[in-house]
Amino acid sequence: MEFAQEQVGDVVIVKLAGRLDSSAAQPAEESLTRALAGGTPHLAIDMSALQYISSAGLRVLLVVAKKVQQAKGKVVLFGLGPNVREVFSISGFDKIFSIEADAASAVAAVR
């Protein structure tokens, strides 16, 4: 799974690409945790290039959300493809996370 990060003002946009499964979970957690470093986190996660997410991947998102909450920050997901959206819907994770349609609304929501 690939990981890219960019800064837009005080919002960090992280892009996940590929499959977020058990083997990708540990490196993904480390990369996302590093993206939170330094000050109050305003994190927008770009899911548009994510083909697949397993329960291990959902757990990583939960861990990150918890860290963001503890740091009194905000996290938003955007760009969910149909496969990933279905997983979020069945598991009820669409009620746990803020989900936006695109980068612009995500950045605005998390600022």
Binding site: S55, L62, K66, I90
Partner: protein
């Protein structure tokens, strides 16, 4: 070890020569020169050149034509072979050690790259010189042939040891003492023997862990409930369930038991992730669910189960859960579905319903209340619970088994027993995956209501 080896062999630089007698003394112990008579050795010594190489400089590079041998006067040099993964260090040659001797006697390309580890001073024996000398000193030619022949025999001997050691490892009869012989043969083989020994230790440790995991898997399967007794209340139910972990132990579980003479509790759950962490949380989840099963109010009991799982859960583990209680006289099924893939309710009259989620998975929000939904099973109806290891089973092309194929397999199982239905679904999944690794734990539970 350098990340990259120097790309060109350095020419070295000139140095003050030691006396002939001393050079001869340094050369003689080497097998390649040991068979030379004294006159020949002195003649070779007279022809020697000298060079110094600063630390990090290359004396010779793998693949280049070899035209000289070196004997180290002072310093140390590392011998490397280049593999696609990077340079592999074979040996370190020290004072009076010989390097590249094959280059002196044959036209073979260098078999290794040699880099000075410290500032190094060497004697150089040029191929030209040696070839010219052998015309005057025929014993040189004979000595060289004898030496190369001896090395072949030696190499076969060492290979035999390695083959024996590898076979012993395969039969779990490996003893590290096997390879001690090799360490005395040559510097290159000593390194290999050491690496082989390390690998053998790893293999045995992995085998030990595998045996422990096997024992854990047996315990996990033994915790799963025994088949329901088909008499008394059990008569109304044909129930069959199976769990197949993706690794030795899994994070899925199923459970069922008679709460009393009139009610059957059924559960299928899927812990996030797989392997050891998931199986530990699975064991906790199962215990928690059993502990709340006698709660008078199901909503309160389920909320309590969630609260127990969500507290002290720093790893953010969660579990999707379907838990239902079936009234055996009325057929009423009261259930909660915490983020679990919706079970199928196959209707005897045809078609099916799905029992959608009533809330998010357990273990996330400690204060979450649990909503209970209700449906009715009519005689002949089948409840099919499963984990997403079925619908997300991948084939070798990366395509998922999916809901459509599962529904087809369920339809095909109509009219049969619960065991036949489960076997049909598992068979269809296995046939679809055909050779691809099982990516997730697989669980099925079929319940046919026959009051």
């Amino acid at each position: 070890m350098p990340a990259e080896l120097p790309s060109l062999p350095d020419a070295g630089s000139a140095v003050v020569a030691p006396p002939l007698e001393e050079i001869a003394r340094i050369l003689t112990p080497h097998p390649i020169f040991a068979r030379f008579d004294r006159g020949s050795v002195l003649a070779v010594a007279a022809q020697c050149g000298f060079a110094t190489y600063p630390a990090g400089a290359a004396l010779m590079r793998e693949g280049d034509p070899g035209t000289f041998a070196c004997v180290i006067l002072e310093g140390e040099a590392d011998v490397f072979v280049e593999l696609p993964a990077g340079p592999i260090h074979l040996a370190t040659i020290g004072r009076h050690g010989i390097i590249g001797e094959l280059g002196v006697f044959t036209d073979l390309p260098r078999t290794a790259t040699v880099v000075a580890r410290t500032d190094t001073m060497v004697i150089r024996i040029e191929q030209d010189s040696l070839m010219k000398l052998s015309a005057d000193y025929p014993s040189i030619g004979v000595a060289i042939i004898r030496e190369l022949g001896g090395r072949l025999a030696n190499m076969n001997h060492s290979l035999a040891y390695l083959t024996y050691a590898a076979e012993a490892l395969g039969h779990d009869q490996y003893d590290p003492a096997f390879l001690d012989e090799l360490t005395s043969q040559s510097a290159e083989l000593a390194t290999f023997a050491r690496v082989f020994g390390g690998m053998a230790a790893e293999i045995r440790a992995k085998q030990h862990r595998r045996e422990e995991m096997q024992a854990a898997a047996e315990i996990q399967q033994s915790i799963l409930p025994a088949p329901l007794v088909r008499e008394g209340p059990g008569e109304a139910i044909d129930l069959h369930a199976e769990m197949h972990p993706a690794r030795e132990i899994g994070g899925d579980f199923y459970d069922y038991f008679l709460i009393d003479a009139n009610r059957l509790a059924v559960t299928v759950a899927d812990v996030s992730g797989k392997g050891i962490p998931a199986s530990l949380f699975m064991a906790v989840s199962r215990t928690v669910m059993r502990s709340v099963s006698s709660a008078a109010d199901m909503a309160i009991g389920m909320a309590e189960a969630n609260r127990l799982l969500a507290t002290q859960n720093t790893a953010c583990m969660f579990v999707t859960m379907f838990h239902g209680v079936l009234d055996l006289s009325s057929g009423v099924l009261r259930y909660c579905n915490a983020g679990h893939n919706p079970p199928y309710l196959l209707r005897a009259q045809g078609g099916h319903d799905t029992l959608g989620a009533t809330g998010i998975p357990f273990g996330i929000d400690a204060d979450m209340p649990c909503r209970i939904d209700e449906t009715v099973l009519h005689p002949g109806d089948t409840l099919f619970l499963f984990s997403d290891g079925i619908t997300e089973a991948f084939d070798t092309q990366g395509e998922e088994f999916g809901a459509a194929r599962l529904e087809a397999a369920l339809e095909a199982g109509r009219g049969g027993s619960a065991a036949e239905l489960v076997s049909g679904v598992l068979g269809a999944t296995a046939a679809f995956a055909a050779g691809a690794d099982q990516s997730d734990d697989i669980t099925c539970l079929a319940l046919i209501f026959r009051p």
